[in-house]
């Protein structure tokens, strides 16, 4: 870990201003991802801006009938919120399927969206990695890629986004709210929030360096049945091989997003039209053009089968 300076921000805008004022500054929320990466010198911030204690830890009803989740609401609290459990079951289930109880107690809503990939080569600083060191190459290509993306990747990077929470939020059409150093705010649909790697896998979201997430807004509840089916090699405490977040309506229509397969939560509204035709039809649209490796081609079948399991459960 490199030496860094540290400050506590007084307000969201001050936090953003502090980030603008110093190159290499980063926000720290729960620290469950950032600190690990700093220990390995994968992240080397020169300055940390502690955003805990900004009062962004509440969940409020919105005028539109949805919920505004403060960026510092802990994953545990969000998953346990009565309104979330009742109206956004897919989110609650996705959260508790992630990490462990101890981690969820620290992890925050904003930090979860911005957690970085679990590609093993990203974690080993002896290996080339375009995400960690732009232009150095991608050791995962042709290497051990069982966990990596089957779609949305590029020659430069095939990492997945590991968040479970984000998959559910994508299905719910959540919107990310931010503020910058000037006090300008914007609302970014989650669909547009994460970027595909292209030639610049180190740029992962549309956020500007001084842009601070204040909240995530959930639109009005969708009704329907909510599912989050996460498949992994052990029963708990592992990242998804494939996960399916789904909200399914009584008439068989619904929404679905996939985790574990792409650099961002993977959803395609057009594919959802095929819902009444079954899992295979939906997945063949949703994963059309997939370019899996030999190690992870099973994920395409697994996605199909996991959605089939969800649909079967929905039928009861």
């Amino acid at each position: 870990m490199r030496a860094f300076s540290y400050e506590r921000a007084g307000s969201p805008q001050e936090a953003a201003a502090a980030a603008a004022a110093q190159e290499g500054a980063q926000f720290i929320a729960g620290g469950t991802n950032l600190l690990d990466l700093m220990k390995l010198e994968i992240e080397t911030p020169s300055h940390l801006i502690d955003v805990n204690g900004l009062g962004l830890d509440t969940i409020e009803a919105t005028a539109e009938g949805g919920l505004r989740i403060g960026a510092l609401v802990r994953n545990t609290d969000l998953a346990a919120d009565q309104r979330v459990r009742r109206d956004y079951g897919v989110l609650s289930r996705a959260l508790v399927a992630g990490a462990s109880g101890q981690l969820r107690n620290k992890a925050t809503t904003g930090g979860n969206l911005l957690q970085r990939t679990r590609c093993p080569y990203f974690y080993d600083t002896n290996m080339s990695c375009n995400k960690r060191e732009p232009g150095s190459g991608c050791a995962a290509q042709g290497g051990y890629s069982r966990q990596l993306a089957v779609i949305g990747g590029s020659e430069a990077c095939i990492a997945t986004h590991p968040s479970d929470m984000a998959i559910a939020m994508r299905v719910l059409d959540a919107v990310v709210e931010t503020v910058n150093a000037e006090g300008d705010t914007r609302a970014i649909p989650l669909a547009d929030f994460h970027l595909l790697p292209g030639d610049t896998p180190h740029i992962e979201t549309v956020l500007a360096p001084d842009e601070f997430i204040t909240a995530v807004v959930l639109p009005r509840p969708l009704g329907g049945q909510h599912f989050y089916h996460k498949v992994r090699d052990r029963a708990s405490y592992a990242f998804a091989l494939v996960s399916v977040a789904a909200v399914i309506q009584p008439d068989g229509s619904g929404r679905i997003a996939l985790g574990g397969v792409a650099p961002k939560p993977w959803r395609n509204e057009a594919a959802e039209a095929a819902m009444p035709n079954g899992a295979r039809a939906v997945i063949s649209r949703l994963l059309e053009g997939a370019t899996p490796t030999e190690d992870n081609e099973f994920k395409v079948t697994l996605a199909e089968r996991t959605l089939a399991a969800v649909l079967a459960e929905a039928r009861g």
């Binding site: 290996m127 052990r234 089968r305």
Partner: protein, 733 residues
């Protein structure tokens, strides 16, 4: 004392304290955090500095240059030791890879430098500033399957070549020829390798975490070219080892080198991400098994050809090991190909050889039973043997494998199992049942102890035996309490210190049997000494309730020792009869029920039962803990554990506990363990054998067989992850 003939009735047979399900005596210290592990021994040496290691970024080649200037100038740095400052340090034979010194790189994350600083953070930050230039060898081989293919025609001296395997196999009525693979496995012990080192002139003290104190003391003598007497090791608490702490490792060597350089005590722990590639792993295996049998199910031919990876000088994971002795069959051809592959060092991990071997053999037995249309329990029973098949003149001292199978089948209700693979469904889940046999040798090694009666009437036991979480403290205390006729509470046990008599140490499942026998010997010596003081025949003495009773008289132990402790020391040595005339081993049967999601392939273990035949059980509670821990590890090996090899760069990619998955609580159901009543007088005076390694043998195959039984999809490549059989599950709508 020599153990030259089978044990007869003796004091240990009282079984007042021994054999009782007693809680471990070190439990309160551990659960309250008061048991100090190596890295936390802040009080043992003053002014401790912190070392942080640097591992090689390449797998094979040499270091061209190292630039430490920036690191040296980094805040808090006190000194740096690099591998280029010295020739490659000598090693003893049981270490396969070299630990430090010289330019040559043998494996990824080989230790090449250690930075010493005032704080951990400073040392770590500085270590990242060392610049190393390497020259990589182009001829390195990292792919076991490819090397095996190339070298299949090599002439290898078989382990056993008995009868005429090839013709017996060719003419057998029913045959199986299948190849199984097991991946490299990581010990993944909770406590990393850690050492605090301090020199006093040319004497070195290491507070460390090590299973085999004397081996490591000898290794230090070789490595540092000083007499063994100059080294003291102290390792009272060990947070798991499973074989990865059998030997001197780089943590201790680096701490010692660093402490010498800076002239102060230095502590160092191997960072978790460095552990998998810097230390040892269970080698990978590719095992071809051929079995021939009669229609009635009698095995006539058994062939086991194991290929495994090793660095020069090692054996790798010899999968054919258990096959030597487990089942009958007149024609046998067993081969171990230890192939030179430039991955990190493969070496002992819990039941080395047997674990990986039985993962394969016990699937093969299941496949054979199916071909024969037999109950796999019955098939195993038919092929039991009471003599060592590789030396038929040798009997097994005790072998109750059939009872293990029968008792297990009854308790598990095997009769009501799913009989046709893939046919039992409960909701979304396919239900399956599997069985497998377990075999593990029961070695014993010379082991010594010192026992005292102290003025307060308490008993102190000192031995360099270690407790790696197994319960050594407790069974040693039980032995002393039994022998000296006192209650467990007044026995004080001090372990893991090289100043104490040399013990067998913890490894190869010999620890419990050997070390308690050593304590038995020392207690007999103490009883004799007391008899001499009282001028009575030792046979006439009775020790009970803190008293020595003889000829209607009694004296309290505290009174006897009122003028000062009475101490005796002895060691047990095992005569050749134990290994030459008899084969000593432990046996077991595992029964497992699983559910496999019919659509997604997710696997959940529902029930596990182990029946063990391991001689006298010294403490059913600690023995059970050993076995359920081993069963858990077996589930890991069956379903998830695998060191992923990057065959281009020659290293294990998933080298942390996020990437290398071991079972979590949610993976493990209720586990039942039954120990058959029994004793093995050929083993030790206490008639005991080990259980810690037996417990893992066969478990994984029982799980694998259950998954097959649930789904009808046979997977011969561990771990059995869903990607390997997804396409064979029922069609989806």
């Amino acid at each position: 004392m020599r153990f030259d003939s089978p044990a007869e009735q003796n004091v240990s047979d009282r079984m007042k304290v021994l054999g009782q399900p007693l809680r471990r005596i070190d439990g309160p210290l551990k659960t309250t955090g008061m048991a100090p592990y190596a890295y936390e021994r802040h009080g043992v040496a003053k002014d401790q500095l912190v070392g942080y290691p640097l591992g090689s970024a390449i797998a094979k080649g040499r270091i061209v240059s190292m630039d430490i200037n920036e690191a040296q100038a980094s805040p808090g740095v006190v000194g740096i030791v690099t591998t280029l400052e010295m020739e490659r340090l000598p090693k003893v034979d049981w270490n396969v890879a070299y630990l430090f010194g010289g330019r040559d790189i043998q494996h990824y994350h080989q230790a090449i430098a250690v930075v010493v600083a005032n704080s951990f953070e400073e040392a770590r930050a500085a270590a990242a500033l060392i610049r190393v230039e390497y020259e990589e060898d182009q001829d390195a081989m990292y792919d076991l399957a490819a090397v095996r293919q190339e070298r299949l025609s090599d002439d290898v001296e078989p382990i056993d070549d008995i009868g005429d395997f090839e013709s017996a196999y060719a003419s057998a009525e029913v045959t199986l020829d299948a190849t199984y693979t097991t991946p490299g496995q990581c010990h993944a012990q909770m406590e990393p390798h850690a050492t605090i080192a301090q020199w006093d002139g040319d004497h070195l003290t290491l507070w460390t975490s090590n299973q085999m104190i004397e081996w490591s003391r000898q290794a230090l003598a070789t490595t540092f070219d000083l007499p063994a007497e100059n080294f003291r090791l102290d390792s009272p608490y060990i947070g798991g080892g499973f074989g990865v702490k059998l030997f001197l490792r780089a943590d201790a060597v680096m701490a010692a080198l660093a402490a010498r350089k800076v002239g102060r005590a230095v502590k160092l722990a191997l960072p978790r991400p460095m552990s998998a590639n810097n230390t040892t792993h269970r080698g990978l295996t590719i095992q071809r098994i051929r079995i021939g049998a009669t229609q009635e199910g009698k095995i006539t031919a058994i062939g086991h050809d194991n290929a495994t990876n090793t660095l020069p000088g090692g054996d790798g994971e010899n999968g054919a090991r258990a096959t030597r002795r487990f089942y009958a069959g007149e024609n046998r051809l067993l081969i171990n190909r230890a192939l030179e592959i430039h991955l990190p060092e493969s070496n002992a991990m819990r039941a080395p050889g047997e674990t990986a071997g039985l993962m394969a053999l016990e699937i093969a037995m299941d496949e054979m039973a199916e071909k024969l249309g037999m109950d796999p329990v019955e098939f195993r029973i038919i092929n039991d043997t009471q003599v060592d098949p590789s030396h038929p003149e040798r009997q097994f001292s005790e072998r109750h494998f059939i009872e293990c199978l029968q008792r297990g089948a009854e308790v598990f209700n095997w009769a009501s199992r799913n009989k046709a693979p893939g046919s039992r469904r409960e909701g979304a889940w396919l239900i399956g049942h599997g069985v497998a046999g377990a075999y593990r040798d029961a070695p014993a090694e010379t082991s010594g102890a010192r026992v005292s009666v102290r003025p307060d009437g308490s008993i102190r036991v000192e031995t360099d035996m270690t407790d790696i979480g197994t319960g050594s403290y407790t069974i040693i205390a039980q032995t002393a309490a039994e022998m000296m006729g006192v209650s467990l509470e007044v026995v004080n046990v001090d372990l893991g210190d090289s100043r104490h008599p040399v013990s067998a140490g913890s490894g190869g499942q010999w620890g419990a049997a050997s070390s308690t026998a050593g304590v038995y010997a020392a207690c007999l010596a103490l009883r004799k000494k007391i008899a001499e003081r009282l001028a009575v025949d030792p046979e006439a003495l009775e020790f009970s309730e803190g008293y020595v009773r003889y000829n209607d008289q009694q004296t309290a132990l505290s009174e006897l020792a009122s003028a000062g402790s009475i101490t005796a020391e002895d060691s047990i040595e095992f005569g050749d009869f134990r290994s030459e005339e008899y084969q000593l081993a432990t046996f077991g049967a595992h029964f497992v029920e699983v559910a496999v999601h019919a659509t997604t392939g997710e696997i959940r273990v529902l029930r596990m039962l182990a029946v063990c035949d391991a001689g006298r059980i010294l403490n059913p509670m600690t023995a059970r803990s050993q076995v359920i821990g081993a069963m858990t590890m077996g589930v890991g090996a069956a379903l998830m554990e695998s060191l992923a090899v990057d065959t281009r760069h020659g290293f294990f990619v998933n080298h942390d506990l996020a990437g290398y998955e071991v079972p979590v609580h949610a993976d493990i159901p209720e586990q039942q363990v039954i120990f058959l009543e029994g004793e093995d007088p050929y083993s030790t005076p206490l008639k005991a054998k080990g259980v810690g390694e037996l417990g893992i043998c066969g478990v994984s195959a029982a799980v694998a067989n259950a998954v097959y039984n649930a789904t009808g999809a046979r997977v011969r490549d561990y771990p059995i992850t869903l990607d390997k059989f997804l396409d064979r599950l029922p069609e989806i709508a």
